[in-house]
């Protein structure tokens, strides 16, 4: 791990300065926010879900108008009327959510808004060549620029988006949780690029919930809570505990004892599961009362494995068994899996997780309508109570259960999906990136939830691209590489390097 270059302090000129920024939707989201960014500086913005980080960056990048306050950029008054104006002034942003057009090619997405053209004709060769350069720089050399984006995995798409932004010149770069979908090697590549930009004097606003990253690259940290700046200090003057305390406004939750559990009987057995090239002959078992991690590089087939298990995609071969039964469960669609007590929390909450235009209440009870209805009639009192209870468990922060899901911050959206499956109380729970985009304090809550579930005898499988997280919470870890299970480790036997080696194994074999 390379240590960041000595922090450029306030001797550098102020590049971007925000004074008294305010913004309200139904409630105030930002109140009197001051923020300074110097050129060549990485300024981290941290805060709990819903603290207002994305909103602040949207105001800076011209996507949302602020209600009050003033901004200067390079000493000049700065009030972008839209994204195009902000870009013209040299402000670029990678948004928290994916913003790609799946039907267009990778190259077209990279050039979105600025397609190379002559008299309205797209110059494909120029476009593809430039795209290839940008992709190579982002470590995506093996992605075909003329392939439709829809053929890429989420992680690769995130990298494409970053590549698209990085190839445009800018003075201020905002990265809103760029690493949420990335694995460590990709993160390293990204940080190399950030270091290069710093050298060129670009000011970078960096938003992340991964504290290790913040400490690795940030020169300065601003902590937001409920839309107010709590403190802004150089990274060296802050410790993890202090940050978490400021973010949460209370002492950090006691780190739940992740100590060993004693696994019970087998709850789920997967045998020889295959689907296309993404999932190849995957077999494993899950026991009640244990948390099993599923690690792997982006695109290694973890999501596809989960989808094949619950029948969201039909597997080409393989069987799934419940408990110690020797007859496989017939799973033709997710309903069969859910009925057999197997639930999946999908990774793409916008596409697969949430009814965005519906209230939190409806999103929470969706999988368990039977419990809040009699003979097909919804008992609205029961429904409200149930929805409140489970959203309290995940500590949802928002305007209550009647708020629409699309008005929630990214992390809170994830919490709603988790609440749905907590309510369903399935025996086998497959979590696909459950903590993506969730703040540190809430992550602990999720970990505690997972531990709770395991404690209650459920079988829990967690896919995560954050290997350290898996190492902290799992009893056992499976590692996927190019669609195969490339290694299995039990707690205490693993090291970071062993797991990474397993994750790379099948790619290395093939390349040699």
């Amino acid at each position: 791990m390379n240590t960041p270059a000595p922090a450029p302090g306030s001797d550098q000129p102020t590049l971007l300065s925000l004074r008294g920024i305010c913004k309200s939707y139904a409630a105030p989201v930002l109140t009197d926010v001051d923020f300074d960014l110097h050129s060549g500086q990485v300024h981290a913005l941290v805060g709990a879900n819903g603290a207002g980080k994305s909103t602040l960056s949207r105001i800076v990048s011209g996507l949302t108008p602020g209600d009050g306050g003033a901004m200067t950029l390079g000493g000049q008054p700065y009030a972008p009327g839209g994204k195009a104006e902000a870009e013209a002034a040299g402000v670029q942003m990678v948004m928290q959510e994916l913003n790609l057009v799946p039907t267009l090619t990778v190259a077209e997405n990279i050039h979105m808004g600025h397609l190379p053209s002559r008299f309205g004709w797209v110059r494909r060769s120029v476009m593809n060549a430039q795209a290839r350069e940008a992709l190579t720089a982002a470590g995506l050399g093996d992605v075909d620029p003329s392939a439709p984006v829809s053929t890429l995995g989420v992680g690769q798409q995130q990298m494409v988006e970053i590549a698209a932004t990085l190839r445009r010149s800018c003075r201020v770069l905002i990265l809103d949780e760029p690493t949420a979908a990335l694995t460590d090697p990709q993160i390293d590549l990204l940080f190399e690029q950030i270091a290069m930009l710093k050298q060129r004097g670009v000011g970078i606003i960096y938003i992340s919930h991964r504290m290790d990253e913040i400490f690795r690259i940030a020169d300065r940290i601003t902590i937001l809570r409920d839309g107010r700046v709590i403190t802004a200090q150089p990274t060296g003057e802050l410790t993890m505990d202090v940050i978490i305390r400021h973010m949460a406004g209370r002492d950090p939750v006691e780190a739940t004892d992740m100590g060993e559990r004693t696994p019970g009987a087998v709850k789920l057995r997967v045998e020889h599961l295959s689907r296309g090239k993404a999932v190849r002959d995957v077999s494993f078992e899950l026991r009640g009362g244990e948390i099993v991690g599923l690690a792997g590089l982006v695109g290694s087939g973890r999501t596809e494995t989960l989808r094949a298990i619950i029948g969201a995609d039909r597997p080409d071969a393989g069987c799934v068994y419940r408990n110690d039964s020797s007859t496989p469960v017939k799973i033709r669609q997710p309903r069969d899996a859910v009925r057999a007590g197997i639930a999946m929390i999908p990774e793409d909450r916008k596409q697969d997780g949430l009814l965005l235009s519906q209230p939190v209440r409806a999103n929470t009870t969706l999988a368990t309508m039977g419990a809040v209805s009699t003979a097909g009639w919804i008992c609205s009192g029961d429904e409200r109570r149930a929805a409140s209870r489970f959203n309290d468990i995940v500590e949802l922060r928002g305007a209550g259960i009647e708020q629409n899901a699309d008005e929630l911050s990214g992390g809170n959206q994830q919490k709603v999906v988790i609440a749905r499956w907590l309510m369903r109380d399935s025996e086998v729970m497959l979590f696909d990136e459950p903590t993506r985009g969730i703040d540190v304090a809430a992550k602990w809550t999720v970990y505690r939830e997972l531990a709770d579930l395991a404690g209650r005898g459920k079988a829990v499988l967690v896919v995560s691209s954050d290997l350290r997280e898996l190492m902290a919470i799992c009893d056992r870890m499976l590692v996927m590489s190019a669609g195969r299970i490339a290694g299995e480790f039990t707690r205490g036997q693993w090291t970071y390097d062993d797991i990474m080696a397993a994750a790379f194994s099948n790619y290395l074999n093939r390349k040699s």
Partner: protein, 325 residues
């Protein structure tokens, strides 16, 4: 954070605002026509209007359901004709009693709707194209059944469509009102309705939540077909005859009514009550223009303009409501 949570009071206010917009447009139309014609503002006009609106009402309720699950049903007009033809032949030629023939007519509609639904979900084809096929097929079926003849039935079927002495509205209209109320309750208060809205919002999410969206969608199309059959009973009863050419273009009127009522064509959002207002707006407009004896070109121009203006007005009303809340 108490003031953030939408209180019951705010909900009532919002609901009032929601229906107020529609009522206003309706009142404006009625006022306008009343001013322009001596005979518009009479019980006779309104009872005629209500009785005529019964068939469009039930069909628009079915269409609301279909639009809520993000589908569309272009075949309602043809299915109405098919149902009516079956009804006409059953009564005029086979001598069936009215209740049996009416039941057969509704079953015919249900069957056509079931085919729409089954094909739509089985192959995951856009319902637009499936029901476009059914538009042709059911029309062909209507011609076959009725042998391309208008089937005269006469008084044997008049009971449902004729205004009841005393109150001036027909049993058909009262049934239609009941369908509206039941439809609204189903949509807002039942698990089935909740699933409909969820499917219309994001079918993928529903599927991954362990609910099979296919039977639900299929049933919605079936309901829509069945209501088209019910509409056929109403229309046939009103006219005393079944015409295999009935209902041409009816799908567009029904969709217009539903959309004027603020239901989204993209699915996931809809109100049966507002659909009913949409139907009334269309019915009042048609009756008013007919009564003024407006010529065909002007009728078309005005109808088109009103459709667009009603929806634009709805956009502003929604903006206002949101700003106020």
């Amino acid at each position: 954070m108490g003031e953030l949570r939408p209180s019951r009071r705010a909900a009532i206010q919002r609901m009032a605002a929601e229906y107020a917009g529609m009522t206003l447009v309706l009142a404006a139309l009625v006022g306008l026509f009343s001013a322009m014609s001596d005979h518009f503002f009479t019980t006779a006009t309104f009872s005629t209007l209500a009785n005529r609106a019964a068939d469009l009402t039930v069909i628009a309720v079915g269409m609301t359901f279909v639009l809520v699950v993000a589908g569309i049903d272009l075949s309602v007009g043809s299915v109405l004709a098919l149902g009516g033809s079956v009804l006409g032949v059953a009564m005029a030629q086979w001598g069936w009693p009215m209740p049996a023939a009416a039941a057969l007519c509704i079953v015919t509609g249900l069957a056509a709707g079931a085919v729409n639904g089954a094909i739509t979900v089985a192959w995951a084809i856009p319902s637009f194209i499936v029901t476009l096929g059914m538009l042709e097929i059911a029309r062909g079926g209507a011609y076959l059944v009725a042998n391309e003849r208008t089937q005269y039935i006469g008084d044997a079927i008049a009971g449902i469509g004729a205004p009841l002495a005393g109150i001036g509205v027909s049993p058909a209209f009262m049934i239609a009102l009941a369908v509206v109320i039941i439809g609204q309750i189903v949509l807002t208060r039942t698990v089935f309705g909740r699933y409909m809205i969820a499917i219309g919002t994001n079918e993928q999410v529903v599927r991954l939540s362990g609910i099979d969206p296919r039977p639900i969608k299929a049933i919605v199309f079936m309901i829509c077909g069945g209501l088209a059959g019910l509409g056929a009973v109403f229309q046939t009863s009103r006219l005393g005859a079944a015409d295999p050419n009935a209902g041409i273009g009816l799908e567009l009127s029904a969709i217009a009514a539903v959309v004027i009522g603020g239901t989204s064509l993209m699915g996931g959002r809809g109100s049966v009550i507002n659909t009913f207002f949409g139907v009334l707006i269309i019915a009042v407009l048609e009756a008013g223009l007919n009564q003024l004896g407006v010529q065909e070109p002007a009728k078309r121009l005005i109808t088109g303009a009103v459709i667009v203006v009603a929806v634009v007005a709805d956009v502003y009303r929604q903006k206002l409501t949101r700003a106020r809340s």
